[in-house]
């Protein structure tokens, strides 16, 4: 019921023709004033409701600090509800106070006044003649955008200064990329996609003012260009693939093993030339010993020094020691080699004692004077070496066996092997050797104390009364031939210790004297070889040493007294 009433009332209200409720016009509003070139300007207003009567609008303005009020000179040029101020009526840096009046029969209404300074309302037109050109820079294409300022803006005289902005996008995409061009009228854009279709627009702005509208879009298709960089990568990839294929093919052809061994060489295990390790495993000592005997000593042809391991032998012993020495050597060889390590601090003596322990009860090896057999062997040995050395006329006074735990023994020395080993001797040797090792004077070769040793030359120094035993090591690392000479010093013997073999095959000997410490001296060889000043005087715990430099081409007879324990 109530709803029907409401609806009826509403209908009546709407249907009743309204009586003209005329009223004065509503207040108009000045919407904006703009100047396109800082020489003229236009103001627009928005009329309010006209109050039902025909309403006219008028614009009045007043300039700064003057009381005169002027009316708008031109209502038409700029369209409806506008006022256009031409050049004559426009003054820059002058405050305009503008008001719009709406008038109808019933009254007039003034708008709110607006103060403007033309300088701050400049909004130019869009730039014109936007031209796009594709240019090349060292083979790489880029886009050059050029344009002209809006025609009415007088930038040439400097009256107005414009700054420009460009925006560009690919057709089909939504994001514009904006570039700020400053005051210049051309701009280069790089890194555009080859073959893409681009849209470009430009706009401008005076220093204090508003941005113009964007110019109408210009289209350009970027050319396809060959991507040189990509082609290089293609070539490189193909080449690499080819190389990989070649290498893999080679691998297969040559066998897996050889390349692997080339790249990752296996650590060489201990190896005796011509020795079948299976024999050791079998455990028969006779077989072992016979295998240990190598038939190619002394080397008649040029030996491979790296493979030739020579030990110096001192042989004293009676026959009964022979077996023990054999056992010592044979049975313990393996263990020796297995216990060898790179610890240079420890001499072979440590391993030697280890060796002794492992090998079972070691027999007391007594010193025994060398029998003539030894001498023969020594001589043979010497003869064998004569091919290298020009020493002659020297006799082997004594040859002593050295615990040859490191090497296969030469043939002539095999007989020496059969000689018994004096335990004290070995001890002496050990001591001296360990001394050497711990002294470490000669550097890395001492690390080889308990490792393999290569002795390229055997140097025997002799005197009338003694045998000088030399023990030469070859430094594998530096290829220098260093002679570590271990003078075994029996009581009444005079031994020289060869300290070093220098370049030019020079021997640097150390002479041990019983008496107090001596400065290093030179002593020329009795054989009349070159004397070389030792550069280093080796002072060690050994007192009273002298250095004697000898040519390696001869045997050296020296006498040196020294007590092993003094080492």
């Amino acid at each position: 019921m109530r709803n029907i009433l409401e609806w009826t009332c509403l209908l009546l209200l709407v249907a009743t023709p309204r009586t003209n409720s005329h009223s004065p016009p509503e207040k108009p509003t000045l919407t904006s004033c703009r100047s396109p070139e800082k020489e003229t300007f236009t103001c627009w207003w928005q009329p309010g409701s006209d109050g039902g009567l025909p309403t006219t609008y008028a614009l009045y303005y007043r300039k700064e600090n003057t009381d005169a009020v002027y009316e708008c000179p031109d209502y038409f040029t700029a369209g409806e509800n506008s006022c256009f101020f031409n050049k004559n009526d426009t003054s820059i840096w002058v405050n305009y106070n503008i008001t719009v009046v709406a008038t109808n029969r019933l009254g007039s209404t003034f708008s709110d006044p607006v103060d403007i300074d033309v300088v701050y309302i400049v909004q130019p037109n869009s730039p014109e003649n936007v031209s796009l050109t594709v240019m090349e820079d060292k083979g790489w294409p880029f886009l050059r955008v050029a344009w002209e300022p809006p025609p009415k803006a007088d930038t040439r005289s400097g009256w107005i200064t414009l700054v420009y902005e460009i925006r560009i996008r690919l057709e089909g995409e939504n994001e514009w990329v904006i570039h700020v061009a400053g005051q210049q009228k051309l701009f280069n854009i790089f890194s555009l996609r080859s073959g893409g279709l681009y849209l470009v627009q430009v706009r401008c702005k005076p220093d204090h003012g508003f941005w113009s509208e964007w110019s109408s879009p210009s289209h350009i298709r970027f050319p396809d260009y060959f991507h040189r960089e990509k082609s290089t990568w293609i070539v490189i990839t193909v080449f690499c693939a080819f190389m990989v294929l070649t290498i893999s093919w080679l691998l297969r052809m040559n066998g897996h093993r050889s390349l692997k061994h080339y790249l990752l060489p296996p650590v060489p295990g201990p190896k005796i030339k011509g020795f079948n390790q299976q024999l050791l495993k079998n455990g028969k000592s006779e077989d072992v010993f016979s295998a240990l005997v190598v038939s190619d000593f002394p080397p008649m042809s040029s030996p491979n020094y790296e493979d030739l391991l020579v030990e110096y032998l001192e042989v004293y012993v009676p026959d009964e020691q022979e077996v023990k020495s054999k056992e010592l050597h044979g049975g313990c060889f393996k263990s020796e080699s297995s216990t060898s390590d790179s610890d240079s601090g420890r001499g072979s003596c440590d391993s030697h004692t280890l060796l002794m322990d492992k090998c079972g009860p070691s027999n007391g090896n007594d010193d025994h004077p060398m029998g003539p057999e030894d001498q023969v062997g020594g001589r043979d040995w010497e003869n064998g070496l004569d091919a290298k050395e020009d020493m002659s006329g020297l006799d082997v006074g004594r040859v002593k066996t050295w615990p040859s735990v490191f090497s296969p023994l030469p043939t002539s020395a095999s007989s020496l092997l059969n000689q018994p080993i004096s335990r004290e001797l070995t001890k002496h040797h050990c001591l001296s050797e360990s001394m050497f090792c711990t002294q470490g004077v000669l550097g890395p070769e001492f690390s080889l104390c308990s490792a393999q040793l290569a002795i390229p030359q055997l140097i025997e120094s002799r005197s009338d009364f003694n045998i000088h035993k030399l023990y030469v090591e070859k430094d594998r690392v530096t290829e220098d031939t260093s002679a570590i000479l271990q003078p075994f010093v029996p009581q009444e013997r005079d031994y020289s210790k060869v300290r070093r073999v220098g370049s030019g095959n020079m021997l640097l000997l150390q002479r041990v004297l019983e008496r107090g410490p001596d400065a290093c001296e030179e002593k020329s060889n009795s054989a009349g070889t070159n004397v070389k000043t030792p550069s280093v005087c080796l002072h060690s715990a050994i007192q009273g040493q002298k250095h004697i430099v000898l040519a390696t081409s001869g045997y050296v007879d020296t006498t040196a007294m020294g007590l092993m324990p003094t080492y």
């Binding site: 050049k87 426009t90 003054s91 840096w93 005289s157 400097g158 009256w159 220093d207 204090h208």
Partner: protein, 224 residues
């Protein structure tokens, strides 16, 4: 209020650094700046001046009460200077006159800025606000620099023969200040500051525009 001042301070520091250092002290081969260089620098300085004054004005406008804006019954003290108000007049003036106008404008602002600085400082002491008066002081330095730069430019132009030698740098007009009498030491109203800054902003824009006109008339190039 502080924000604008700090921004202005940095701008002024930049402006001050443009101070010309003696470049040919040891008789080495000097780079003598060309007219284009001088113009460039001078216009840069005027741009700075204008931006600083705009910022100052904007800051003050926020603080001053809005009714003042509508009255508009104040005159800038430089309105006596015949600065061309449109393009035609500006172009009809010769280069010499234009330069003269520029120098007059710059000269007219030296003292007022100092006064502004003083009054701002006083106001600041009363309000115990941040040190914004330093800006006005540095602003005066900027204007002095600019004036010196324009003089240098004028000399160069005379040397090059593009300017007749009649231009004399006018002394800053004394007492030609239309600031209200209350602007003596003591009472300082923010209204005066507003007027002053408004005028300053306008005049700096005029200077910039005139310099640009001079530049484009002397050195037409890509930039004009």
């Amino acid at each position: 209020m502080t924000r604008g001042y700090f921004a202005v301070l940095t701008l002024l520091h930049l402006a001050l650094r443009v101070r010309s250092a003696p470049i040919c002290t040891f008789g080495a081969r000097c780079h003598v700046p060309t007219l284009a260089d001088v113009f460039e620098r001078v216009i840069q300085q005027s741009s700075r001046m204008h931006s600083i004054s705009s910022d100052l004005h904007a800051e003050f406008e926020q603080d001053s009460y809005p009714s003042r804006k509508q009255a508009g019954k104040w005159k800038c003290h430089t309105h006596d200077i015949l600065a061309p108000g449109d393009k035609k007049n500006a172009q009809s003036l010769g280069r010499e006159e234009l330069t003269q106008v520029i120098l007059e404008l710059l000269g007219a602002w030296m003292d007022p800025l100092l006064q502004l600085h003083q009054s701002m400082r006083q106001q600041q002491e009363e309000d115990q606000g941040p040190h914004s008066s330093n800006v006005a002081l540095e602003m005066s330095d900027v204007i002095q620099e600019l004036r010196a730069g324009v003089l240098k430019m004028a000399d160069k132009m005379k040397l090059l023969g593009v300017l007749s030698g009649n231009t004399v740098a006018p002394a800053p007009p004394e007492g030609a200040l239309h600031l209200s009498a209350s602007n003596k030491r003591g009472a300082a109203s923010p209204v005066d500051h507003n007027e002053l800054l408004h005028c300053l902003r306008r005049d700096s824009d005029k200077v910039k525009n005139y310099l640009r006109i001079l530049q484009c008339s002397m050195l037409p190039g890509l930039e004009c």
